[in-house]
């Protein structure tokens, strides 16, 4: 078989598709194993979104409306890199989250918590040449969900990354360090024990701005490349 351009994820990285504690997976997870596919041009190319014009305001979720949203202003920053530590330059980073009260700007969110007219909750930014990205937002609240009795999602920010190829596409969630709800969350705990802590951001005192905002760091690691280009395999 042709050597793969992008390495397969190590065992113990991603959740099992069927993670029954997270009830929605039961009817929505394939029962048959995925067919292993040699990586062709279809898999090693992918949308880079290079021509997508981003508004400067899209990376500051506190400035998208008439006034400042309620809640604790925070900085979320980090680096998009691959398993070999190489930067993913110009990576498009997309995020979405609920407001400080735990309510999404979404018609399906029926949680009895106030909407904030000054918080929309969606942001995008393009990383720099070294893969560094930075958002300003407010700390999202915890929110209840119907998975089981007294089920609460720990505070989290949804992240979407394309990386350099179709094969590197990733959607994930960033959590906050030491959140007591993590221990009870079937979505967080769907990730194998040895890997789930990677989804916790770390408090970043150095990037915290005096008199202004706490900072959290969240590095995102996408699939790395095999050393040999596949054409030479």
């Amino acid at each position: 078989m042709t050597e793969q351009a992008y390495r397969r994820p190590a065992a113990g990285t991603h959740p099992a598709n069927l993670s029954p504690e997270y009830k929605s997976t039961v009817a929505r997870s394939p029962s048959k194993p995925a067919v292993i596919l040699p990586q062709t041009l279809s898999e090693i190319t992918g949308p880079l979104r290079r021509e997508e014009r981003l508004d400067a305001g899209e990376s500051d979720l506190t400035k998208q409306r008439m006034a400042a949203p309620l809640g604790e202003r925070i900085i979320v920053q980090g680096r998009v890199l691959d398993e070999d530590g190489r930067a993913v330059p110009q990576a498009l980073v997309e995020i979405w989250q609920c407001n400080a009260a735990g309510r999404y700007h979404h018609p399906g969110d029926q949680h009895d918590a106030p909407l904030d007219p000054n918080f929309y909750g969606g942001g995008r930014v393009r990383a720099d040449e070294d893969g560094n990205y930075r958002f300003v937002t407010i700390k999202p609240g915890a929110y209840p969900w119907g998975n089981h009795r007294n089920a609460w999602r720990p505070a989290h920010i949804h992240f979407s990354l394309f990386g350099p190829a179709f094969a590197t596409r990733l959607i994930t969630q960033m959590y906050f360090p030491g959140d007591p709800l993590l221990a009870f969350d079937p979505i967080y705990n769907s990730v194998p024990a040895g890997a789930r802590a990677r989804l916790q951001s770390s408090f970043d005192m150095e990037a915290t701005q005096p008199e202004w905002a706490l900072a959290y760091r969240f590095d995102i690691v996408l699939r790395g490349r095999n050393a040999t280009p596949m054409e030479n395999a």
Partner: protein, 187 residues
């Protein structure tokens, strides 16, 4: 390997309205070369129920069979305004719709060409990992020799083949489980 891969999580139910302004259901502005087609991709769960809160992304070559990406270094034309990326959520009927052009064929690493196809990513609440699959075109004589379809047991190949529904509309049902479970790929 010096850095550990970031694990995947579900897109959840509430991306719509925040990721919505980045939708791209029309891939080919006027003037892009090729046969214009529409894709209707329906998403079903294991029990056949529609999935109205899913997100479908597509990635495809242009009509010349060229991907708009630096890894595709072949001397084939790129079309201005055509990236080849689409994103749309499923509607109440569980269907995501795209307007695009029929892709050309792209090479197989060991030689020859693959049959024309569109690459698909599926995301939804309850789907913890991105599910990757492909859309092929019914009636394409190249299907019989496609090296990817040959990796799939014959009985399951129809799950990857869109049917023409009059005019330029192609429909494909993706089943996350059940008797008609779609073939997903680990590429």
């Amino acid at each position: 390997m010096s850095h550990a891969l970031t694990p995947s999580q579900t897109i959840g139910p509430f991306y719509f309205g925040t990721l919505a302004n980045t939708y791209r259901a029309e891939l080919a502005p006027p003037g892009v070369a090729g046969e214009r087609i529409e894709l209707a991709i329906a998403l079903h769960d294991r029990d056949g129920a529609v999935v109205p809160d899913g997100l479908i992304e597509i990635w495809q070559a242009n009509s010349h069979g060229r991907y708009n990406h630096p890894e595709d270094r072949r001397n084939l034309p790129l079309d201005a305004g055509f990236e080849g990326f689409g994103r749309a959520s499923t509607d109440k009927a569980g269907v995501a719709r795209f307007g695009t052009v029929r892709p050309g064929r792209v090479p197989w690493p060991q030689g020859g060409l693959q049959a024309a196809h569109v690459n698909i990513s599926v995301f939804a609440r309850g789907v913890l990992n991105r599910l990757a699959t492909r859309l092929y075109f019914d009636g394409d004589p190249a299907l019989a020799e496609d090296p990817v379809l040959k990796l799939v047991e014959a009985a399951r190949r129809p799950t990857l083949i869109a049917k023409r529904d009059g005019g330029g509309l192609w429909t494909l049902s993706i089943h996350l489980g059940g008797a008609h479970e779609t073939v997903f790929f680990d590429g």
